[in-house]
Symmetry: C3
Subunit: 427 residues, 3 copies
C-alpha cells in the first residue's frame, strides 16, 4: 500500500464531511452532497423530472425527510433520525401514530448478529415505512405504546445527478462512475466519491488523451437515467470504471467488465500485477454496482469496477459500522494511486505502425543509441525500442508490447515516443 | 452412485434375459434380441439384404448356427455351444470332422492368463472355424481323436437393425446408439441396450424438445448401414450418444466426440462435473464403438460415448467373465440417471435474446421478485434471472449461463422460463 | 545427448580449422572461411559492393587487416594480433603511433571479472581503434611508452556472403542461416557453420520435399543484405532456422519465431519434446541472431533459432574462452541430430484429404491389415491408419495427427503412405 500522503488525509476529510448527509436515490441529500463535491471540481448538475421514462424504468417521486423518531411514553426519542440518517427506512412514507411495541416491531429492522450496529434498509418501489436500530436498543425497549413519526414527503420532483468532464485530446471518452445514494455509510460510497473527485483534479493537470467524464449518480436508477439521456454519446465511451467501496483496509479488487477482455480489463490487470500490490481480479457478475447497467448486453461497454473489499464482502457492509473510521487515508491514497497508474497506461496505449518494417532499421544512424549514452537503463531502453519496432504491426498496442516483453509500460511508452520522433513508427 | 432403484433391478433383469442369446452381426440371435427389446419399447425393425452396398462396405452373408460341439472318443461333448454361445468362433463356417487334438489345437482359443474364462472371438470377414474354451478345459483334454461339428450356415440373407423414435417438439434429432452383436456378454453390451431402452421409455413421458432416435444395430457394419440408409436424415442429427459397457461397477467415462466441443460434449462434462460423480472425460480416439462411424470426418457428428469402465479397460472384457454378475443394478441405474440428467440439460439448452437489453429491466414492476417471496432459493433465483438477462445476447445458451454463473442449470432454466413468460427474453 | 559419432568429430575438426581466421562483417577473413566451407559443400558466393543500399542500411566499407600489435619499449609485442584475431577491436581504423600507457589505456579492452580471458569487441559504425587483452596482461604492463600499430584498411570493397541450395521436390523453401562474422570464437559461430554444413550434406542425400537454402552471411548486415536482394524469393520461404552457438555442452534451446505458432515452431517443439532431450523452448524476442531480421514485422517469416546455451547465457560468450575446447563433438552431433529429425518431420508434414470420409473404409478388404501381420508394431500401425483417416479433413497435418494421437510421427507418416498407396487419402 502506498505511504500515507496528504492526499489520503484530504480525501478522508471529504469522506467525513459527506458522511452524515441523508442521501437517497432522489432528494435534497443528493443535492447537498453534490454541492460539497462541487467545491472540489466544477459539476454540471442535472435534474430529471419524476415520471420521465428512462430505458425500462420511470424516474420515481422525489423523497425528502425532515425528521423521524420513535418516542416512548415519556416522550424520549429512543430512535432518532437526527442522530443518524440510517435510522429511517429509505423512502419511508410519512407516518404519525401511536402504537404498542408489539405492533411497531413489524416496522423495526435490526441486526441480531451484530447487536450494536444499525442496519441500512430501503424500500424504493414498495410504499412502506420503518425504522432501523440496533438490536441492543430494541432489547431495551419496554412494552407499551410508542409514538412513531416520519416527517417525509414523496412527491413529484426530480432525480439529481452530476457530471464533471476533463477534456482530452480526443472526443473518445472514459467514464468514471460512482453512486451517491447511500446515506450515512462511509466506504459505500463516500470513499468512491472522494477518490473519483481527487482523480478528476489530477487528470485535469495532465491534459489526458481521452476525455474523462465523471458521473456522480444514484445507484441503478441514476446510471440508467444517465444512459437513457446519453444514447448518442455511448459510442464515444471506450472505457470506464465504477468506483465503489474504495477506502477500507482490505486488498484491492478489480471486477472485470462483462467482456472480460476489454482494454480496461487488461490495463487494470497489468497495473495491479506489475505493481505487486496484493489484489484480486474477479469475473464479471451481473450483480454489484452500476457496472450492471453499463455492461448490460445492449450496451456491453468496457466498464470494470474497482473496489477494495468487494461488495457485501465485509460484515460492516450496509451497517452503521461502515463509518469514517472504517475508511483509512492510506487505503484511499492507494486506490487513487492505482487509478492514476491505470489511466496513465490506458491513455498511452496506442497501436503503432512500423514505417521501416523490413529488417531492423539502423537505430545508430539516427542517434537513437547515442541518446541512451550513460543512462543506467540504456539496455532496457534499447530493448524497448526493438520490441516496439517488432510489434508495431497495427495489431499490437503498447500494453501488448509491455506484457510480451516483460518491460515496464513506461519504458515501452518512452521508446515509442523516441521512435515516433525519429519517424520510424506512427500511431 | 445413485441408490438402488427398482429401475436398476428391472434393467438388470432385462440384461439377464438377453444375455444367453447367440448374437452376431447378422442372424436370428439379433432378431430374438430385438423381439425382447420390442416388448419394452415398440421397434421398427429393418432387414437389409446381403450384398447391399453400404458406404465403403457390403452387407455380408447372414450367419446362423444351430449346434456346435467338440466331443471326445466316448462321445462326451467337452466343448458345447449349448452351454454358452461364446464357445463357437463367431461366423464360423460349418465343419463336421474327426481329428486328433494336435490338429484341433489350431482352431481352439483360450485365455492362458485367465485359465477359467472362455474368450470371445470372431472372424467376420475371413472364412474360418473355431472353438473358444477355458484353458483349464483344454489342459484336461487327453490326446486322441475328437469329433468336431459346427452346424452353421452362411448364406444370403439380411442384416437386421431396429429403431425406436420418441417424437419431440422439433424435427432435429438426438440419436442414442447401442450395439447388439455381442453374444453371451452382459456389460458389453446388453447393459447398454437395457439403459437405452429404459431411457427411451422415460423420454416418451417427457414430451422432449428434440426427437430422440434409438438405434439398436450390430457394431460397425450396423452403424455403417444405418448411416448409408439415412443420408438425408444426417443433417437433422444434432447430437448423439453411443451407450456401451454401461453396467459395470467402475466409474463413469465420457468419451468426447471428434469435435471435442460439440454441445453433447459440453453437456456431459457439465452434468458429470456438477453431479460430483467420480468420472473421467476422455478425448476422442478413432477406436472404440460406433462413435467411430458417426464421427468419421465426412459426418463428424456431435456424438460422444458414455461407458462405465471404458472399452477393453477391464480384464473381464470380451470373456465369459462379462456375465450378468459383472453388471450391477446400481450401476445401470446410475448410468440411466446421467443420461436422464444430460438430456434434460440438452433439451433445454436454448439461446435467448434479451428484448430489453439496455440497462437492467425493472423486474419488481413485473412481479418477478414477488414471485420469489418466501422461497428459500429466492436469492439464487434472482441471480439466475440477472445472469440470463446478461447473457441473452444470442451468443450464449443456458448451459453457458450455468457454467459462467456457477448456478445450477435447473435454476437457470427456470429463470429463463420466468423471463420468457414476462416477455423479457425470447428464444 | 547422442553418442559420439564420427560426424561429431568431423564437425569439430571443421570448427578447429575455421576458428583462427580473422572474420568480420566484411573482408578476406569471411572469404577464407567460405573457401573452406566450400570444400564441404559447393557454395555460391556473392559480393555486394560498398555503398549498396540494403533495406534501411548501407553496405559499409570493407575492412582488412594484416598485422596489429602493441610493443613495449624493448620492441617486445605484448599484445599481438598474430596470436589471436581477438586482440584487435573489430573494424579498427589504422594507427601507427607511440604513446604512454596512460594514454593507451583508453583503447584497451579487458574483462576484469575473468582476468585470464580476452574479450571480443567491435566498432563497426563508429570509427575507432583498440586492442583487446587479458586483464592479467594489462596488469603486467609497466608504465612507459608503447608502440601501437594496426595495419588495417577500410576502403570501398564488398560484403561477402554465400548460399548453398539443396533442391527439393517443390520450389517452396526452408532457409538455414548462420552468421560467419565472428573471429576467433568457436561456439559462436563456427559450431553453427559446421552443423549447417553437415546438415546440407545429409539433406542432399535425401531428395527432400522442400528446397533447402543454406545462408552463410555476416550477422545483421549480411541477413539484411540477403533479404534485400531476395525480395521476390521471400514468399517462397515457408520455414527457416537460424543456427548459432550449436556446440557447447549445455542443453538445447529453441527460440520460437515471432509468430510463435509457425509450423517450424510446432515441429521443433514436437521433436524436442518427444525425443526426451533436456531442452528449453523460449519465446521470440527481438534480440539475438538473425532471426531478428527474418522475423521483422514486414517479413514475419516462420524462422526460429536453435542453439544450445542461448545467446549470452554462458560466461565464455564473446571471449577467448569460447575456443574449440568449449565445443564438444557430442554436442555438435546432437544438434545435427535434432536438425535432421526436425526437418524429417517438417518435410513430411502434409495435409491429406480422406477420399472415403463417410464411415470407416474397410481396411481389411484392401489388405491393409494383412500387411501388418506379424509386425510387432501392428497395433500401433493400425491405430495410426485410423487416426490419419479420422483427421484427414484438409484441416490437420500429420504433425497434428501425431500430437493428438500420441503416436510417433514416423508411424503416422508410414500410415499416410500406406493409405495413399491404397487410394484412401490424397495430399
Amino acid at each position: 500500500m502506498a505511504p500515507v500522503t496528504g492526499l489520503g488525509e484530504e480525501m478522508h476529510a471529504l469522506v467525513e464531511r459527506l458522511y452524515p448527509l441523508c442521501r437517497s436515490i432522489t432528494g435534497d441529500g443528493v443535492r447537498a452532497t453534490l454541492d460539497i463535491v462541487g467545491e472540489y471540481v466544477p459539476l454540471q448538475v442535472h435534474e430529471v423530472p419524476t415520471g420521465t421514462q428512462v430505458l425500462d424504468w420511470t424516474v420515481p417521486q422525489e423523497w425528502n425527510i425532515r425528521d423521524a423518531y420513535v418516542a416512548d411514553a415519556a416522550g424520549n426519542r429512543v430512535v432518532d433520525f437526527a442522530a443518524s440518517s440510517l435510522h429511517v427506512l429509505g423512502y419511508s412514507v410519512p407516518v404519525a401514530a401511536t402504537m404498542p411495541l408489539s405492533e411497531l416491531r413489524g416496522h423495526l429492522h435490526t441486526l441480531p448478529d451484530h447487536p450494536a450496529w444499525v442496519p441500512y434498509r430501503t424500500s424504493y418501489y414498495t410504499p412502506e415505512w420503518g425504522f432501523c436500530l440496533s438490536q441492543e436498543t430494541l432489547d431495551g425497549l419496554p412494552d407499551g405504546d410508542y409514538e412513531v413519526r416520519i416527517d417525509s414527503t414523496l412527491a413529484d420532483g426530480h432525480l439529481t445527478y452530476a457530471e464533471h468532464v476533463v477534456p482530452g485530446q480526443v472526443a473518445d471518452e472514459v467514464i468514471v462512475s460512482c453512486h451517491v445514494c447511500h446515506p450515512a455509510l462511509a466506504n459505500d460510497n463516500m470513499a468512491g466519491v472522494a477518490v473519483a473527485t481527487y482523480l478528476a483534479r489530477e487528470l485535469a493537470e495532465r491534459s489526458p488523451y481521452y476525455t474523462y467524464r465523471f458521473i456522480y449518480a444514484p445507484g441503478t436508477i441514476g446510471a440508467i437515467t444517465w444512459l437513457a439521456r446519453n444514447a448518442e454519446r455511448i459510442e464515444r465511451v471506450k472505457h470506464g470504471l465504477v468506483l465503489a467501496c474504495a477506502g477500507d483496509r482490505g486488498r484491492l479488487t478489480y471486477k472485470q467488465s462483462r467482456r472480460g477482455d476489454a482494454e480496461i480489463d487488461r490495463v487494470l490487470r497489468h497495473v495491479l500485477r506489475t505493481s505487486e500490490r496484493p489484489h484480486d481480479v474477479v469475473e464479471f457478475t451481473p450483480y454489484g454496482y452500476d457496472e450492471r447497467q453499463y455492461c448490460s448486453p445492449g450496451f456491453d461497454l468496457g466498464v470494470g469496477s474497482l473496489s477494495r473489499t468487494p461488495y457485501a464482502g465485509y460484515p460492516e457492509y450496509h451497517t452503521s459500522a461502515d463509518n469514517p473510521d472504517f475508511v483509512s487515508p492510506e487505503a484511499l491514497a492507494d486506490t487513487l494511486a492505482v487509478c492514476r497508474e491505470a489511466f496513465a497506461v490506458l491513455d498511452r496505449n496506442r497501436r503503432y505502425v512500423n514505417l521501416s518494417p523490413y529488417g531492423e532499421p539502423q537505430l545508430g544512424r539516427r542517434g537513437l543509441y547515442e541518446s541512451l549514452g550513460g543512462r543506467s537503463d540504456a539496455k532496457q531502453a534499447q530493448m524497448a525500442m526493438l520490441w516496439v519496432l517488432s510489434l508495431s504491426d497495427g495489431e499490437h498496442g503498447l500494453l501488448d508490447v509491455a506484457e510480451r516483453s516483460g518491460l515496464p509500460f513506461d519504458a515501452v511508452a518512452a521508446a515509442a515516443d523516441a521512435l515516433c520522433g525519429a519517424g520510424l513508427i506512427k500511431a
